[in-house]
């Protein structure tokens, strides 16, 4: 048996290149779609939304009310809109016009003046916990002494006694908690999954479906040369996408690059290898492009949902995290975020590097085992 031939591989690559050139639409799509996704996800998804519409039903227009409202507005989480009655505000909450309803009782200022510590009811639309999460947290942190300045001297508390300890919360790496900084590095991994996993599994299955694979197998080209010839163009495409998305992420979204770009590219190379091994495995099983497409989707959905791309990894139950830990994208995400946002080096990303390497080895072994030289 003749061994691996770089000349035959070059012939495969040349053929793929010609075919790609004849199909500029696919190339354009693979470069434009990631950009659209970047803008879509980067600008649209916000896990820390501010300026949430809030209905104010006030039966007591007083100085206390005004101070309280302006304190709420100052948190930037609430946009206050006055409503005439509790019923109309309730209806607005139901319809989703507002996410909060703040009710100030008629005797609010009187009770405050008498030092009776009246209660104010804040209704929140709990159907989307993510939307109201940060706002409710801000509500709790509203300074207890917000009304101090307006109170009659006898009720004004002296500067509150210093608590025995103080917690200083410091959101590092992303102090403003801008969601885009979390989403955009993750998007690199998602886009790479699409181009390498989905496109490779379909590209190889296409040769089978159109019958050209039978022809190739009857010629002296080795299966490994066929597979590499199909894979390498998509690696190139994947890297082109990565560079494009990364450049846009930095320029448009101000994503910092605190770590080494080279280290990021090399780690993503390992991630690409994982996807290609998986794509190759799918393509050996699938008989039609449609089947390959479905298998790739099957792997892609958990990649979106369980990897920590859209939802916090820490919030998932144990079994879901176990699945997530197996997926290479989970680790690629952490590495991309780590290197870009935290400036992580090899030592910090190692815990996520080796699981990807293990995945690539196992999936590669399965692909090689399933990859047949004959039509049997």
């Amino acid at each position: 048996m003749t061994g691996f031939s770089f000349r035959r591989l070059a012939a495969m690559l040349r053929k793929e290149w010609l075919q790609m050139r004849r199909d500029p639409m696919t190339i354009r799509l693979t470069l434009i779609l990631p950009m659209i996704q970047l803008f879509l996800f980067g600008f649209a998804i916000n896990a820390n939304p501010r300026h949430l519409p809030t209905a104010l039903v006030s039966a007591d227009h007083s100085v206390y009310e005004r101070t309280l409202v302006s304190a709420l507005v100052n948190t930037r989480y609430f946009d206050i809109r006055p409503y005439p009655s509790a019923a109309t505000a309730d209806e607005a909450l139901r319809r989703g016009d507002v996410l909060f309803v703040l009710e100030i009782p008629p005797d609010f200022s009187r009770l405050v003046d008498r030092g009776e510590k009246p209660r104010i009811l804040m209704d929140a639309d709990g159907s989307d916990p993510v939307a109201i999460g940060s706002a409710t947290a801000a509500l709790g942190a509203l300074n207890a002494a917000v009304l101090n300045r307006d109170l009659p001297p006898n009720l004004r508390s002296a500067p509150p006694p210093a608590p025995p300890f103080q917690i200083v919360l410091h959101a590092r790496y992303n102090p403003e908690q801008i969601t885009a900084l979390n989403i955009v590095p993750g998007l690199i991994a998602i886009i790479l999954t699409i181009s390498t996993l989905v496109l490779t599994s379909v590209a190889i299955t296409r040769e089978r479906e159109t019958g050209t694979l039978e022809n190739l197998l009857a010629m002296p080209v080795r299966p490994s040369e066929v597979a590499l010839g199909k894979i390498i163009p998509y690696v190139g495409l994947g890297y082109a996408q990565t560079v494009l998305v990364l450049a846009l992420a930095v320029v448009v979204f101000g994503v910092p690059v605190r770590g080494s770009v080279l280290l990021l590219m090399l780690s993503l190379g390992l991630f690409i290898a994982c996807n290609l091994a998986m794509g190759l495995t799918f393509s050996t099983i699938a008989q039609t492009q449609m089947q390959a497409q479905q298998m790739a989707q099957f792997a892609f959905l958990p990649s979106m949902m369980l990897s920590g791309f859209l939802y916090p990894f820490a919030g998932m139950p144990g079994w879901a995290r176990a699945i997530g830990e197996v997926l290479p994208i989970t680790h690629a995400l952490r590495i991309a975020r780590g290197i870009l946002l935290k400036g992580n080096g090899l030592a910090q990303i190692w815990p996520d590097l080796w699981p990807m390497a293990a995945f690539a080895l196992v999936a590669g072994a399965i692909a090689v085992r399933l990859y047949r030289e004959t039509l049997d």
């Binding site: 012939a11 053929k15 019958g211």
Partner: protein
């Protein structure tokens, strides 16, 4: 390999797919330089046999040689010297004729790529269409392009799997002219077909049924070996007569060809009786020599009674 040794010499080949026997003890011998027609109904195992001969499928049992090389252990070496044309057109429609041929030439690592492509384009009459996208060619030209790709590396054996299916009569004839030209140069050709006119152009035909070789020989030998009796009638009312005859005992096939009604069967007396029963004097009957297609339909019926 001496010139007299057979190009294909395999025995007792077995192949099953999901426990269904597709090839069931096939023994096959094709002499060097022969144009051999490979016939048989759909699902008789023609494609499977061809795939085993070029190493795309591994036989479950049996063995033999192809071009003097062992079928089981030397498949890659066999592939280098065999040109296999698949049943379904399997080149790249989004590449031009020349680009497809260049791709094939590179895979075979041909030393004189340019010259070889120019020669094959000339020979197949494809020179004018070299720059055309293969997907835009008509069926006949596609088949020529595929044949060109199969002979580019100067194989010693051509395996053609229904190369002319769905191609018009003129293109089919031209295609066969090319096959004969290639055979003149010493190439061995095994070609499967469903067309009887093509079978008649083969030096020898091999008939396959149920994964076994049923009969082989020249077209004349195959016809003679079947001992089939055929009668032909002309005259008014043949359309009506054909129905009655189909149901008659001893009549295996009855069909109308243009102005003539043709019946065939093994038993001359039974056929004569059927004719006598039907005859109203308006039809003129005469016994005619059986044709190859009568024989094949007879053999198809014998293998698997018509649905």
């Amino acid at each position: 390999m001496s010139a007299s040794s057979p190009a294909i010499d395999v025995h007792d080949l077995m192949k099953s797919f999901r426990k269904r026997k597709v090839i069931d003890g096939l023994t096959l011998r094709v002499e060097t330089g022969e144009v051999c027609g490979f016939l048989g109904g759909n699902g008789s195992g023609k494609t499977t046999t061809i795939r085993m001969l070029c190493g795309l499928l591994r036989p479950d049992g049996g063995g033999g040689t192809c071009l003097g090389l062992d079928l089981l252990t030397e498949a890659p070496a066999i592939r280098r010297q065999v040109g296999y044309m698949t049943q379904q057109f399997s080149f790249y429609g989004d590449l031009t004729v020349r680009e497809n041929l260049e791709f094939v030439a590179r895979l075979y690592e041909l030393a004189d790529r340019r010259a070889a492509i120019a020669a094959v384009l000339e020979r197949m009459g494809l020179a004018d269409r070299a720059g055309q996208l293969t997907g835009e060619l008509s069926g006949g030209w596609k088949q020529r392009m595929a044949l060109a790709a199969c002979v580019l590396h100067r194989p010693k054996l051509l395996l053609l799997d229904e190369p002319t299916a769905g191609v018009d009569a003129r293109a089919r004839r031209q295609f066969w002219d090319l096959i004969h030209e290639l055979a003149t140069d010493g190439l061995t050709v095994l070609v499967s077909t469903h067309y009887m006119d093509e079978a008649e152009r083969c030096g020898r035909v091999i008939y396959l049924a149920g994964g076994r070789l049923v009969v082989q020989g020249t077209a004349g030998e195959v016809v003679a070996a079947a001992h089939l009796v055929t009668f032909e009638a002309t005259g008014p009312g043949i359309e009506r007569a054909v129905r009655a005859l189909r149901a008659a005992p001893g009549v295996e096939t009855a069909a109308v060809f243009g102005q003539a009604l043709r019946i065939a069967g093994l038993d001359r007396a039974a056929l004569a009786a059927a004719i006598a029963r039907l005859d109203d004097g308006r039809l003129t009957w005469q016994e005619v020599p059986p044709r190859l297609d009568d024989v094949f339909i007879h053999m198809l019926n014998a293998q698997e009674p018509a649905e």
